[in-house]
Structure formats: structure tokens, C-alpha cells
């Protein structure tokens, strides 16, 4: 597990999700255990069909847990009523894969950012202060707020929209950020920017970031610890160096060998 034993932020024991009943039941997530600590940047790596998106939705509280328990800051998580859910969601936020569908098509960019300020109790703040906060958030992600007012999010490029999502997170200040494949629809050259911004976010605010991806290279670059997921189970976990440079599980080894390398020769025979 993690070397720096900081306080627990989000953890789970035997978390399971089953869809359907009887013979047709499909187990998307099968008894996973995990411990994410405060300020940690954790990656969950899995191919499509591994159950990582289902796990993400359970962590976010968007779908229910079939078996097992999730703990928030050491205490069992209780999101049984709508009010408790909203309380939980003050502490956890998300960024999704497709920037185009993440924004309501009818809202302009200032509306989007103002909404974030309002939902964090800033409704009564003077206009000047709100403007200042929005500017600060935009400059954190290298966007110029003055150029964005009166525009719609879909007028920006994919990379810019994801950065705008990060600006939202900057304003919402959750304790945990769950990023579900935030760069898979972005060009390779813009990916580094987004990843660096996430790192900055963690460094400046101490946010726990759960980064879900299928690209083990990204996981290696950005994370402190890595969990490898296959068919609904965690097959390996540890620090990034441990898991990727000295993988123990067969699946992990295969994942790593299947990625094209540039510093070492890429072995094409093992396929």
C-alpha cells in the first residue's frame, strides 16, 4: 500500500456491484478493497469492460453498492437520503471523459462558473468578488476569463473544455476529485497540460485525486499509487514504481508489455 501513511480519505471493503438477477446476473465489480489517502494521486488502470466506470459511479454515489461498504474519511458512508447525498457531494466531484457532453448546451461559460460559486455558498458575495474568483480559476488552467465571457463551452476545443472543467473543480474545492478518463478524447500533445494541471491542483489544495484510465503510461507519469483492475477485481496495487517497473501479476505484466515503448525495445512476439 501507500508508503506515506496519511489519513484515510476514501476506502472500501468487499465492494461489489451486480446487475440483473438470477442466471442473467452480471458482476461488474467483484469484491474490491481499497484505501485512498488524503492528498494522494491514485490511478485505477483497466481496459474497457474491467468495471472501472462502474466502480467510479459507486464511489461518486451515483449508483448503489450491492455488497460491501465504502468509508468516507474513516466513517461508513451514509448516502441514504437526498440531503445526505448532497452533503457527500460537497466533498467529492468528478471530471468525465467527453468534454462536449459534460456541459449543458444552453449555459454560457460565466453561468457555469457562477453556478459553482453559488453552490459553495457564494451567492451573497459582491459581483466584483465573484468575478475575481472566476478569473483566478481560469488563470489556474491557463484560460483567459475575459476572452471567455459570452461564449458557450462548445465553442472551445476539447482540451480547453477539459481545462474549464478543472477550473470548475478549483471553484468547488472538493476533498476528492474523481477523473474518469479525462484525456482519452484529447490529442496527445494537449494531454500533458491536463495532467500537469491535475498535479498542480493536488499540490496546491491537497485534494485526493482518483485518476481512472486505460493508459498505463499516464498512470505511471501522474500517480503515487496504482491499482490494476481486471474483470471487476483489483489484481495488483502499490506505488507506481512498484507496480509498473516490477509488476507481479500476470495481467499487469501483459498490460505493460502491450504498450509501445521508446526507451526499451518493444517485444512484439508476446501476442
Amino acid at each position: 500500500m501507500s508508503e506515506s501513511k496519511g489519513p484515510l480519505c476514501l476506502s472500501g471493503k468487499g465492494v461489489t456491484k451486480t446487475f440483473g438477477v438470477g442466471l442473467k446476473a452480471v458482476t461488474a465489480v467483484d469484491g474490491v478493497d481499497f484505501e485512498f489517502r488524503r492528498g494522494e494521486l491514485v490511478s485505477i488502470v483497466g481496459e474497457s469492460g474491467s468495471g472501472k466506470t462502474t466502480l467510479a459511479k459507486m464511489l461518486l454515489g451515483l449508483i448503489s453498492v450491492s455488497k460491501g461498504e465504502i468509508f468516507f474519511q474513516g466513517q461508513p458512508r451514509d448516502i441514504s437520503t437526498a440531503r445526505k447525498k448532497r452533503e457527500y457531494w460537497k466533498g467529492i466531484q468528478a471530471i468525465f471523459q467527453d468534454p462536449f457532453s459534460s456541459f449543458n448546451v444552453f449555459n454560457k461559460i460565466d453561468t457555469v462558473l457562477l453556478d459553482c460559486i453559488n453552490m459553495r455558498g457564494g451567492r451573497r458575495l459582491p459581483r466584483q468578488k465573484k468575478y475575481q474568483m472566476m478569473e483566478e480559476a481560469c488563470s489556474f488552467v491557463n484560460l483567459k476569463f475575459a476572452e471567455l465571457t459570452n461564449k458557450y463551452p462548445f465553442e472551445l476545443s476539447g482540451g480547453q473544455m477539459q481545462r474549464l472543467m478543472i477550473a470548475r473543480i478549483f471553484l468547488l474545492k472538493p476533498k476528492i476529485l474523481l477523473a474518469d478518463e479525462p484525456t482519452s478524447m484529447i490529442d496527445a500533445c494537449s494531454r500533458a497540460t491536463i495532467l500537469d494541471m491535475l498535479l498542480n491542483l493536488r499540490n496546491e489544495t491537497g485534494m485526493t485525486i482518483i485518476f481512472i484510465t486505460h493508459d498505463i503510461g499516464l498512470a505511471y507519469y501522474i500517480s503515487d499509487s496504482v491499482y490494476i483492475m481486471e474483470h471487476g477485481k483489483f489484481v495488483e496495487s502499490g506505488t507506481a514504481d512498484q507496480v509498473i517497473l516490477h509488476p507481479k501479476a500476470e495481467y499487469t505484466r501483459r498490460l505493460i508489455s502491450d504498450v509501445p515503448k521508446i526507451f526499451e525495445p518493444w517485444d512484439l512476439t508476446t501476442v
Binding site: W89, K90, N104, V105
Partner: protein, 416 residues
């Protein structure tokens, strides 16, 4: 908002549809001011009267005439008597009676008349001619005789005391009366229907009633459909099951049969236009509910809805800002189509005799009903049914045009 309106009128299809519909609405509002009165008032004698201007003969006689000597007055008189059909019939009589007609030009009125006068006799009975035809020729002969007769007519009135006819005045062939001097002139652009009612007045009033029925029924149906579709689609689970249960019942029973049954059971006396509108509205919400539900179901799993939930927005806010705007265009289109189909449903009901009370206000369907019942189509009284059909078609057409022109307005990503 201003931008939206500009967008809306930018679309040519919408504009054309809007213009047609606005024209119909204007007619509905303005015509009753020009021609006030009860549209169901019977002014005719209970038969179809052709469209045209009707001048009171009694009043023209009494009006002071002016004298005109128009060169073609006689020719017009004769030509009016001998219609094309009459000429053909004359030739037939000549042939049947064995008259030599070589070199006869049927358009040469004086020649035709000369030949007729020379040869016609009511005692001649050509073979194969029915009595009706003989009566017809007799009438034709009388008309020809009277046309060519005296240069003036005399008007006589019976004496109040003796009862004998006394000469009152004379009417010369050159006497003309200005129509505006005549006290009673009635313009009937669409003639009268079988009851003797002014068809155009009736039509305008019926149009208004039908559109009103369409709007009320359409609004009710769309609102019910929208509400049920939203609840079933977004909340899912038990709510969805209950709503779908009711929807399925209404689907299985054909709405039209339901309409007939309810209309029938309400009874003729209770059925006003408003009631009919309610009935149509409450039975035709099914497909709107279905489609709204499926749209909402696909929307509720979208990323922006999930992010809205995560931001802490409440249910009502999510439905109104994240779901409704995305289905707004669809709902408006559904509304327009429902208006259209409600008007047609009412027409069908009235055609069956199950529409609003026939003695209060006319509707488009009722007018069609009467035209059919009284065989307007069989006796050539096109003005009794053709304008009605045209109006129904125009209403549907204009609404549908507006419908298709609204795409760009509702989806900001489609705008240039």
C-alpha cells in the same frame, strides 16, 4: 430572447407557415366586424344558393333608374338566354324534328333564333323525347319569346280596394339602376349551405371554433404527455411502472373509439365545443407521453445531468434546466402536431354526428357533415364543402410548416 425570435423568423419555412396561419387568424378576427350577426342564422330558403351578389328585385324596381344605351345590351340578353347547353339542345331538337340545319353556326344567335322561331311548335313531338325535355323546350321557347318582346315592361300593383291591377310604372330596356342605390343587396362570396346560411360567415366562425378547440385540446394533451413523460422517464422505478400501465391501457384502446364512446355517453345536450376539446385532449396524450419518456430516459444518464447532481442541484432544478431545454424543441413540435390532429379529430367526430351541439356554433367538421348529408357534392354545390376542406388543409399545413422551421432555434449547437 430577442436573438431567439430573430432566429425563429429567419427560417423561411416557419415564415410561410406563420403567414398563412396569421392570415387565417386575422380573417377570424376581422370578418365578424365587417359582417356581424349570428353565423347560424338562416337567410335562405333551405336550399343551396350559388355564390354571387344577390340584388333585391323588388327594390330595384322601385329605385330611380338612369338611362344608358349600351350597344351590346341586346346581344347580352340573348346570349344569357341561350347557354351553350341550350344551343346544343336546340340543335338536338332541330335534328329530332327533321329541320335542315346545314351551315348553321350555333354561335350565331340571330340565325339560331330565326330558325327556332320558324320551326318550333309545342305540338311537335319528336320520337324518344321525354316529357321533362318537352317541358324544357317549352320553357326555352317562352324565354326566347319574352326576350325579344316588348321594348318595355309594365309594373302593376293590385289596387288595395278593388284588387284590380293598376299600372304603376314602366321599365324600359335602357333603364339601369346603380347597385348602391338599391336598398337590399347581399353579397354571398360562398353562397349558402343547405340550411340557407351564409357559408362564408359560417366558415369564418367555424374556423375560429375549430382552432380554439385545437388549441385547448392540444394544450391539454401536450401538458399531460409532458408531465407524465417527465415523471416516468426521470424517476423510473415504480412511478415509471404506474405511468406506463396507464399509457398502455390508453394505447390498446384506439383513441378514436374512446372518443366516440365518451362523446356518445355525454349526450347531445352537454356537448359544447369546450367539452369536445377536453375530451379530445384527455384521450390523445399517449404518444407525446411515450416519446417524452424515451427522450428523458436517454437524457438522465448524460454526463451533464450527473455533474448537475454532483453539484448539489435539487430534482426540480435538474429537470427544468438540464432536461427540459433539451426536449423543448420536441415538446413544441409535439404541441403543434397535437393542435393539428385535434382539429382533424373534431372534424371526424362531427362528421359522425358526435361533435359539438349542432344548434349553437358551427365547426369545420359540422359543416362537412351537413354538406355530405345534404349531398352537396352530388348536386354540384362545391361552395358548401370545398372551402371547408381547403381551410382544414391550410390550418394543418401552416402548423406543420412552422413546426419544421423551428429546428435551428432550439439547438444552439446547430446555429451558425
Amino acid at each position: 430572447m430577442k436573438n431567439t425570435i430573430r432566429q425563429v423568423f429567419h427560417s423561411s419555412k416557419f415564415l410561410v407557415g406563420f403567414v398563412i396561419f396569421a392570415f387565417l387568424l386575422l380573417m377570424m378576427l376581422i370578418y365578424p366586424l365587417i359582417n356581424p350577426g349570428d353565423p347560424l342564422q338562416m337567410i335562405g330558403l333551405g336550399t343551396f344558393a350559388r355564390p354571387g351578389t344577390y340584388v333585391s328585385v323588388y327594390d330595384s324596381v322601385g329605385t330611380k333608374p338612369s338611362t344608358f344605351n349600351l350597344p351590346d345590351a341586346d346581344a347580352n340578353r340573348l346570349a344569357k338566354i341561350l347557354t351553350a347547353e341550350d344551343r346544343v339542345n336546340m340543335v338536338n331538337w332541330f335534328t329530332a324534328a327533321g329541320v335542315d340545319i346545314t351551315g348553321l353556326d350555333t354561335q350565331d344567335t340571330p340565325a339560331m333564333l330565326k330558325l327556332w322561331k320558324a320551326n318550333y311548335s309545342s305540338t311537335v313531338r319528336p320520337k324518344g323525347m321525354t316529357k321533362a325535355m318537352r317541358n324544357y323546350y317549352e320553357r326555352l321557347n317562352n324565354a326566347i319569346l319574352s326576350a325579344n318582346s316588348a321594348s318595355k315592361l309594365t309594373v302593376s300593383e293590385p289596387n288595395a280596394d278593388t284588387g284590380a291591377l293598376e299600372e304603376k310604372s314602366e321599365i324600359a330596356k335602357s333603364d339601369y339602376v346603380n347597385v348602391s342605390d338599391v336598398s337590399n343587396v347581399k353579397v354571398l362570396p360562398l353562397g349558402t349551405d343547405n340550411f340557407g346560411r351564409d357559408t362564408l360567415k359560417e366558415l369564418v366562425s367555424a374556423c375560429g371554433t375549430s382552432i380554439r378547440i385545437g388549441l385547448i385540446a392540444g394544450a391539454i394533451a401536450t401538458l399531460i404527455g409532458l408531465l407524465l413523460g417527465l415523471l416516468a422517464g426521470y424517476l423510473g422505478g415504480l412511478v415509471d411502472d404506474i405511468v406506463m400501465f396507464f399509457t398502455n391501457i390508453f394505447t390498446v384502446i384506439p383513441s378514436f373509439v374512446l372518443l366516440i364512446l365518451i362523446s356518445y355517453s355525454i349526450g347531445q345536450e352537454q356537448r359544447g365545443a369546450g367539452t369536445v376539446a377536453l375530451v379530445i385532449g384527455f384521450t390523445s396524450w399517449v404518444w407525446t407521453a411515450r416519446s417524452v419518456r424515451s427522450q428523458v430516459m436517454s437524457l438522465r444518464n448524460r454526463d451533464h445531468v450527473n455533474l448537475s447532481k454532483l453539484s448539489g442541484h435539487r430534482l426540480f432544478r435538474i429537470i427544468t434546466t438540464d432536461i427540459l431545454p433539451y426536449i423543448a424543441s420536441y415538446v413544441v413540435m409535439a404541441f403543434i402536431l397535437q393542435i393539428s390532429s385535434a382539429i382533424l379529430a373534431e372534424a371526424q367526430l362531427s362528421l359522425l354526428g358526435l361533435g359539438p351541439k349542432t344548434t349553437e356554433i358551427p365547426t369545420l367538421g359540422l359543416m362537412m357533415n351537413w354538406a355530405m348529408l345534404y349531398s352537396a357534392h352530388l348536386n354540384g354545390s362545391w361552395w358548401a364543402y370545398f372551402p371547408v376542406i381547403l381551410t382544414i388543409a391550410l390550418i394543418s399545413f401552416s402548423l406543420n410548416l412552422m413546426n419544421t422551421g423551428l429546428d435551428q432555434v432550439f439547438n444552439p449547437t446547430l446555429r451558425d
